[in-house]
């Protein structure tokens, strides 16, 4: 790990002001990083992928609204520094929006969930082995224009949706999928004040600039996630398929929520994990279900539509069928829920 200047922030505005200024270049070259749980940042600094000169520890802000979950009928507000474990065990989150609690509970391990924050979780970097090993010179995400070692390498874990010729890295998290399925907003604080955007607008597809991870301005900090809860969101779940039964990233996952009345789908929400370069909202699949009676045939049609644009490489073609089956099962289970 390279040495860095360590600063503890005692207010969001201090944190934002302390963040070293600079223009938005490749993510790995950011001169500053906020430290929350550190479970992704310290890991990536140890292996020399992230090399900040300045680390701004924001954990003291947990005693501000950033560390709090607040719920009422209009709004479910999750502070960015809330630990994954605390949100996963929160009774009202489990009752009102089970997909959120499940996506967190099925992620990482309890030690990691005790450390990791919700804000850091959403911003975690890909687990692409060529990104994480700096001895590979080809990685467009780390070194723009250098090529992509995964395209013709070992790409079993890589994405089939949202890829480009420059990068096929999978977005590894689970929680962001649950958020986008519920149309959550993310609140941000930056040098120019505060703003809110939809979580679905936070991550960038790789396109021809895989080195740019998000739409955040340099130094912009996540302060909270906000969900407008509707009663039907109780009918929601997260299904995650992995190589082992626990403590593993998704091969394929689905966050689903459904507004169902007398067997008819009024609203369906689908977000996919493990198969795409960003948290992936499957709108075409949702449209096929909406205003129809729920049936197995419709669930299959939705699953087919969700993967219609899939592009596979040598080792990851299995993810198309696995992803469809995952989604179909998730839809069938959510439709059968007592909500």
């Amino acid at each position: 790990m390279r040495p860095f200047i360590y600063t503890r922030a005692n207010s969001p505005s201090f944190a934002v002001q302390t963040f070293p200024s600079g223009s938005a270049g490749p993510d790995v070259e950011s001169p500053g990083q906020y430290l929350a749980g550190g479970t992704n940042l310290i890991d990536l600094m140890k292996i020399d992928v992230l090399r900040p000169q300045h680390v701004i520890d924001i954990n003291a802000l947990a005693s501000s609204p950033l560390g709090i979950i607040s719920t009422n009928a209009q709004e479910l507000r999750l502070g960015a520094l809330v630990h994954m474990a605390d949100a996963a065990d929160h009774p009202e989150i489990n009752r009102a929006v089970p997909v959120i609690a499940q996506s967190l509970r099925l992620a990482a391990s309890q030690q990691l969930r005790n450390m990791a924050s919700l804000g850091g979780n959403v911003l975690q970097r890909t687990r692409c082995p060529y990104y994480r090993d700096v001895s590979y010179s080809q990685c467009n995400k780390r070194r723009p224009g250098s090529g992509c070692a995964a395209l013709d390498g070992f790409n079993r874990m890589h994405a089939v949706l949202g890829t480009s010729d420059q990068c096929i890295a999978t977005y590894p998290g689970d929680f962001a999928q649950a958020l986008i399925a519920l149309d959550a907003q993310v609140e941000l604080q930056g040098a120019n004040g505060t703003r809110a955007i939809s979580v679905g607008a936070l991550h960038r597809r790789p396109g021809d600039r895989p080195d740019l991870e998000t739409t955040l301005a340099p130094g912009e900090m996540i302060t909270a996630f906000v969900i407008k809860p509707a009663p039907w969101m109780r009918r929601s779940l997260y299904l995650k398929i992995r190589d082992r039964g626990s403590y593993e990233f998704a091969l394929a996952s689905a966050a689903v929520a459904m507004d169902l009345e007398d067997g008819r789908v009024r609203e369906a929400r689908i977000a996919l994990g493990g198969v795409a370069t960003v948290p992936w909202r499957a709108q075409a699949a949702e449209a096929l279900l909406r205003d129809q009676l729920f049936s197995e045939a419709n669930a299959q049609a939705a699953a087919d539509a969700a993967f219609a644009g899939a592009r596979t490489r040598e080792h990851n073609a299995f993810k198309v069928e696995l992803g469809k089956r995952t989604l179909k099962r998730a839809l069938t289970e959510v439709a059968a829920m007592e909500a």
Partner: protein
């Protein structure tokens, strides 16, 4: 012979204490503020950071390279080598310790970020000559290890698991202990040990002991 050696060779622990001043005693521990100290303007990247930790009831003032993890602070600076370094990447759980009673991974925790916090390691569960912690005893009784490399992490994680209320049944224990890998695959016996020690661990928590 061994007496002579002891009087001429400072123990590893004593030697390491020269990098750490230790104000011992539970009395001081109770007065511990538990708050990170304010820290002002950015300084030089190579300048050591002052970190105050309460480790197993003793206040320790350390001066550390800013990159030092909690695991390295415990092992290399305080001589507490019970917490193990397995992967150093957050993947195995061998480095599990309790920070303010919650189980975390020492290898991904920056020591500076837990300034002002209370740390409990395997060494803090009991003292020489005293009874083992019920979780330690259960691991012995149930033969819950072979090589023992993962064991201190398993035991600290198991105590955290019981405290959290995540040891309700076998499936629950397996799920919430999945962050602790055991290369010797002692898993069934680890589950049995946690079940054996659950009630005693809960009653120790009720009486404010780890």
């Amino acid at each position: 012979m061994s007496n002579n050696r002891a009087s001429f060779t400072p123990s590893r622990r004593k030697f390491l204490m020269t990098t750490a001043s230790s104000a011992a005693g539970p009395v001081i521990a109770r007065a511990f503020t538990g708050e990170a100290r304010a820290q002002s303007a950015p300084r030089n990247q190579r300048e050591p950071v002052g970190v105050r930790l309460e480790v197993n009831g003793h206040v320790q003032d350390l001066s550390l390279d800013v990159r030092t993890t909690l695991l390295d602070a415990l092992r290399e600076h305080l001589g507490l080598t019970g917490s193990k370094k397995g992967c150093d990447q957050g993947q195995c759980g061998a480095c599990t310790v309790l920070v303010d009673g919650r189980r975390v991974l020492g290898c991904l925790t920056l020591a500076a970020s837990v300034d002002g916090r209370s740390i409990t390691t395997i060494e803090g569960l009991t003292s020489p000559g005293q009874e083992l912690h019920p979780m330690q005893q259960a691991f012995v009784d149930q033969d819950a290890f072979q090589c023992g490399y993962c064991t201190s992490g398993q035991i600290m994680s198991a105590i955290g698991c019981v405290h959290e209320g995540h040891a309700e049944n076998d499936a629950d224990i397996r799920e919430y202990m999945s962050g602790n890998l055991c290369r010797c695959a002692a898993y069934p016996n680890i589950v049995a040990a946690i079940k054996q020690a659950k009630a005693a661990t809960q009653s120790r928590l009720a009486s404010k002991e780890t």
